[in-house]
């Protein structure tokens, strides 16, 4: 057929006519919307939305958490402003924690040396080990109800209960050896300090309860040239804390101890403090040589430290030189320094001790994945997620985030004693068990976590001391019954102890402690992920580590 000029004109006129009708535009719009809603594009769940109060249990700090639930599933988390320690803040990893239970590395089967096994086989193997020799149980967060279950279990079998303390608790260990007060009962009275000297501790980047110091710093120091709270950061590199500190003291890597000794010598020689001796062995010139600072800079630092009191030095490890500096400064057992928050704290033995002779070692899911006990014993490792290469004989799937009832004792380094209950907001899959449930299967006479929490609530009620802080603050003395107190705690309230009448403790230094140099500072990428006890990071951590240049990916980039 021959195309004529008339046909062409008809075609143009027809197309123009069609374009003035809504048909093509409607079709284009529909196709656009339809193609953006392919069936494989995930759709958010629909259903009633409610907000529940809980606590983050992924590290020992137990920050208050508001969990938004839709159709029974957690769809978002936020901090709780009324929490006395975390004060509404969460760490960056915590904001993605509600997605962890679906992490591809979630453990759902019992594994025995890389092959699939069963709970019954694990129970038989552990019971056999218990009958053959001493056992050890290693706990990541001591002081919980589950910790009591562990302690009772090992006491019955003449075994040992061991803990893996975090850097904040480790830094308090020297005071325990000098004063006899358990490190677990000590804390930093940061709220009353006027000068804080951090020797490499990441105070603004993952140290202890994230909200506690960051809120304090924001209120009393941020952006001021003459702040109420002077933060001095001693560190080799410009870390996040150093970048925001009132003063950054750049020293050679690993020379923080030398600086502490140099400063202590200046304080004692110039009589800038009431303390008298013992004198550190390092001279000022030696300290200057090791740190790379001038002697004048060390003298200036010593004078600045005592210019505004109270002052406290914070270490990032258990090296005693910085603790000794606190004794010289008069900060040990004093307001604004290291204080005793509770008279009832227990002393815990580190997992490094006495486990090599054990027949079997049970490691709770709260212990960092990287921790390997120094033993050849049969290792039963509980974990909710598989962190990759592990050395355990048995890998036992534990409840995930918000799936297990637990209580939340006082956070490490806190100056006040607190207690809270984190109820299980999600039903745990049938194939997982907590370590306490597992031990209960072996010894049915063992008391359960729920009963211990009930007993602890009853003790708090009988003590009639402290307050309950939830939506409103209530004195425990005014709570009508144990049931009422328990009900409030289960709804997210926090029990806060009364401040001790005297937070002082006697800490004497007979001779300057022998030191072995500072541990290398953690890189800023490790700060959060080291404190984080789960073996994997939440998938949204990819925003921090992979999809931006904000942080270098940590070794465990299981995101």
């Amino acid at each position: 057929m021959k195309l004529t000029r008339r046909d062409l004109l008809w075609g143009v006129a027809g197309t123009a006519g069609l374009l003035v009708t809504p048909v093509p535009w409607k079709l284009l719009d529909d196709v656009s919307i339809w193609s953006q809603n392919w069936p494989w594009i995930p759709q958010p769940a629909r259903g009633p939305v409610e907000v529940k109060q809980s606590f983050c249990t992924l590290c020992p700090n137990g920050c208050g958490m508001r969990v938004r639930m839709a159709s029974g599933w957690p769809v978002g988390v936020a901090g709780v402003a009324s929490h006395p320690v975390s004060r509404g803040a969460l760490c960056p990893l915590g904001f993605g924690a509600h997605q962890l239970n679906w992490h591809p590395r979630r453990l759902r089967t019992v594994r025995h040396r890389a092959s699939s096994s069963s709970w019954e086989a694990a129970r038989v193997a552990f019971a056999k080990a218990c009958s053959e020799g001493p056992i050890a149980i290693i706990d990541g967060y001591p002081g919980r109800a589950a910790s009591s279950v562990f302690e009772t279990f090992v006491q019955k079998r003449n075994g040992s209960y061991r803990t893996v303390p975090g850097p904040e608790t480790l830094a308090l260990a020297p005071y325990e050896s000098w004063s006899g007060v358990p490190a677990a009962g000590l804390g930093y009275d940061l709220e009353n300090a006027q000068t804080i000297v951090s020797f490499g501790a990441p105070l603004l980047d993952g140290w202890a309860t994230p909200g506690r110091f960051t809120r304090l710093w924001a209120e009393r120091a941020a952006g001021s040239t003459d702040p109420q709270l002077r933060l001095i950061q001693v560190e080799a590199s410009l870390s996040r804390t150093a970048a925001r500190a009132w003063q950054w003291v750049p020293v050679h890597a690993g020379s923080e101890v030398a600086l502490a000794e140099g400063v202590a010598r200046v304080l004692l020689e110039e009589r800038l403090v009431p303390a008298r001796g013992p004198m550190p062995p390092m001279t000022l010139a030696e300290a200057a040589e090791q740190t790379g600072l001038s002697t004048g800079a060390i003298v200036d630092l010593a004078r600045t430290m005592v210019a505004r009191l109270p002052v406290v030095a914070i270490a990032n490890d258990d090296n005693p030189a910085i603790a000794a500096l606190n004794v010289v400064l008069g900060a040990a057992g004093a307001r604004g320094g290291i204080v005793r928050r509770s008279k009832h704290a227990e002393s815990y033995a580190s997992a490094e001790a006495d486990v090599e002779s054990a027949r079997a070692v049970l490691i709770d899911s709260t212990v960092p994945w990287d921790f390997a006990p120094p033993t050849n014993a049969e290792v039963f490792r509980f974990a909710a997620w598989d962190g990759g290469t592990g050395t355990s004989d048995w890998l036992l799937p534990a409840p995930g985030f918000l799936e297990d009832l637990t209580d939340v004792p006082t956070a490490p380094a806190s100056a006040i004693a607190t207690y809270a209950v984190a109820p299980s907001l999600l039903k745990a899959p049938p194939e997982v068990q907590s370590a306490a449930q597992f031990l209960g299967g072996i010894d049915p006479a063992l008391i359960t976590v729920e009963k211990i929490i009930h007993t602890r609530c009853a003790d708090l009620f009988r003590g009639r001391a402290g307050t309950l802080q939830g939506q409103e603050t209530t004195s425990v003395a005014k709570v009508a019954s144990v049931q009422k107190l328990e009900e409030q705690l289960w709804k997210g309230a926090v029990w806060i102890d009364e401040p001790p009448r005297s937070a002082a403790f006697r800490c004497e230094l007979k001779e300057w402690p022998a030191t072995v140099g500072s541990a290398p500072a953690m890189s800023s990428s490790e700060n959060w992920s080291k404190a984080w006890r789960a073996p994997v990071l939440p998938p949204l951590a990819s925003k921090l580590y992979l999809e931006s240049s904000l942080r270098e990916p940590p070794d465990r980039r299981n995101v």
Binding site: S32, T214, L540
Partner: protein, 249 residues
């Protein structure tokens, strides 16, 4: 409603923790993308670490959260969009992105002086089962469209719905707080109505320490920054952009 929502970010308070980035992604159902790089990732809220370029003891750094600046005047992304997929909401001043209209041409990304727009290079995907954890108030965007900060518009909708139920015409400011503002542990990010003389954010925006990024372009961003440090203020007009950015700080 005749508001002009904006933010004032106090850079002297920002510690660069990244909580705002994760909270933003969780609130807005931004998928985790393990194969993405800083160039191809989707970070509607992005914290950059910038150095003053000095050596040793004189070195200083600042963390700058960057998101859509919600330009009020001659909004660059609006003027280049062939699909009318971007518009400035007259009632709130929020620059809205409508993924249903977006063709993925990325003109807006080129036009944005702040590099605050992101292209979805991959289908949105979460590990199996994790879709249950998605925020029901926000639809998931598909591959091939551009997205950016919309000041947590779903939260504004919720606040408006709550106000309507109680018979009020105006929302309670406490009901509308974007996720990044809520997440900031140092309260460095403040949010409010810049058009309201009584709003603290309006006061902060006019403080002597406040400034806007690339103010010379005259696009009138509604995101203000604050710092007492002169070198930080000087960054605002830097022609090299994030040239002194510290990677993986």
């Amino acid at each position: 409603m005749n508001a002009r929502y904006g933010m004032v970010i106090d850079l002297d308070r920002c510690t660069g923790c990244g909580s705002c980035m994760v909270a933003c992604a969780a609130e807005n159902n931004v998928p985790p993308i393990p194969q993405a790089s800083p160039r191809t990732g989707t970070t509607p809220m992005l914290v950059r670490r910038v150095s003053n370029g000095m050596e040793a003891g004189a070195q200083r750094e600042v963390f700058i959260p960057i998101m859509c600046m919600h330009c009020e005047h001659e909004t660059p992304c609006v003027s280049v969009c062939p699909q009318q997929a971007v518009e400035v909401d007259k009632a709130t001043g929020i620059v809205m992105q409508m993924p249903q209209r977006c063709l993925g041409c990325r003109y807006c990304m080129t036009a944005c002086p702040y590099h605050a727009r992101y292209f979805n290079w991959w289908d949105p995907a979460w590990p199996a089962g994790m879709e249950k954890s998605l925020n029901p108030g926000v639809a998931v965007r598909m591959r091939g469209v551009v997205e950016k900060c919309n000041m947590c518009h779903a939260r504004l909708h919720s606040a408006m719905a709550k106000a309507a139920i109680t018979g009020k015409r105006e929302i309670d400011p406490a009901d509308y707080v974007p996720a990044c503002v809520e997440a900031c542990p140092t309260a460095a990010i403040q949010f409010g109505n810049l058009a309201d003389q009584n709003d603290p954010v309006s006061h902060e925006a006019h403080s002597p320490d406040a400034f806007r990024l690339l103010a010379r372009l005259d696009t009138e961003p509604k995101v203000y920054y604050k710092s007492k440090e002169a070198w930080v203020k000087a960054l605002a007009e830097s022609k090299s952009g994030p040239g002194s950015e510290v990677k993986h700080g």
